[in-house]
Symmetry: C2
Subunit: 208 residues, 2 copies
DNA sequence: GATCTTTGATTGAATGACCAAACAATTTGG
DNA sequence: CCAAATTGTTTGGTCATTCAATCAAAGATC
């Protein structure tokens, strides 16, 4: 029962935070959603911030499982035998799928970003969150660069930051406006990066 | 004096909101920063939300002036005689400059995004904010596409969404971590888009 | 020119509500 | 019987917004 209860609280927190947002949900709202007394949330989580972090991690679980089912782990290395271009393409496809299926998680993520702007504890969680995912993109980027006819001027890390940033910028637009065609934007990003990765060796180019 | 006072309150709001964030600043903090009585802020602005919107607009003013000094208006058309590629390149350069000079504004912008996630009034302001800027990028994109050897599969709007998104994703990384090398990321984005825009006509390519 | 009047600007103190966290008391399960 | 789990209340504080009262200045009246 104890572990079950904690899990129930985290799940209730996730649902409530997605629905109402961090600053608009009270601890007792979460407790009510979980069907427990107001005080119990503080028994398992010292602060509301801790509960937010737990809720985000909880929300990310299914998403990470999808990636691992596809043979990729967020923190582990890329499989050596795989085609990096295929991985990149798959990444964009998965991104589209995730946005469609786990829209609430992205909402909560941006909420966390907002809170993290002026809250050290959340800020630290946000930095970890970003770095982990950006490093993942960087691993794929490095592998793709290794196969390019002419290596780019920019570092793999810089390119990864631009690509990860673009995905999240697209997520933002989608979260702020459900009418927004995020799939088309991700396809455009995919087309640009793929064209960049496969461009032929050129005689001369200028610098940015 | 009356107009001056309102301006003073908006300016105080901008500074206080940047420093402490929307949810962590009280109306009376803003009033204190402006050197007026607590009630006066509500005399000029019905709600705290209105003051946030006014503060953002106030913060954007110098930035818009820089663009107009460079011959571009956010909402107007592009000058017909200009080289679109040059405009694009200049856009990326200005983006780097802005991020260095007006870091606080970006912080406040992301704060507004966070608040807008669950606040209809702010959400509407955010949508306008995004659409205005994305449309601006789209105008440049359209002009660039017109000069491409082989037009892209993606629409100009989709490409603009990916590029604007990337810039803001990069801003986000910078805001969350000052160590982050945003200039390198913007250079990488610039390199990718420029390479894409100038790529030669190819015999055959696959779809994303 | 002196006094009254109006209007808008400004003040500072309520109001009314909310909430995170702490806590003492009770229950449960081993 | 004990320790962990759970309850529901209290605490101590916050804050947006309202409001009655003051103030300053600009007309209006005589």
């Amino acid at each position: 029962m104890p572990d079950q209860t904690k899990e129930r609280i985290v799940d209730a927190a996730y649902r409530t935070l997605v629905r109402r947002g961090y600053h608009e949900t009270a601890m007792k709202d979460i407790a009510a959603e979980a069907g427990v007394a107001p005080g119990l949330a503080h028994y398992y989580f010292e602060t509301k911030e801790d509960l937010l972090v737990a809720a985000i991690e909880h929300g990310c679980e299914p998403l990470i499982k999808v990636w691992e089912a596809a043979g990729v782990s967020l923190s582990g290395p890329m499989p050596e035998d795989a085609d990096p271009m295929m991985f990149a393409r798959m990444g964009f496809e998965l991104a589209k799928e995730e946005l469609k299926t786990y829209g609430g998680l992205f909402l909560l993520t941006f909420d966390m970003f907002g809170v993290g702007l002026h809250n050290p504890k959340i800020a630290s969680a946000v930095r970890t969150f970003i770095e982990e995912r950006r490093a993942f993109v960087a691993r794929i980027t490095r592998a793709v660069i290794a196969g390019m006819a002419e290596p780019p001027l920019a570092s793999a890390d810089a390119i990864a930051a631009a690509i990860w940033g673009s995905l999240h910028g697209i997520y933002l637009q989608k979260v702020m406006n459900p009418e927004f065609d995020a799939e088309a934007a991700i396809d455009a990003l995919s087309e640009m990066t793929m064209a960049f990765a496969t461009r032929p060796r050129s005689t001369s180019r200028e610098e940015g």
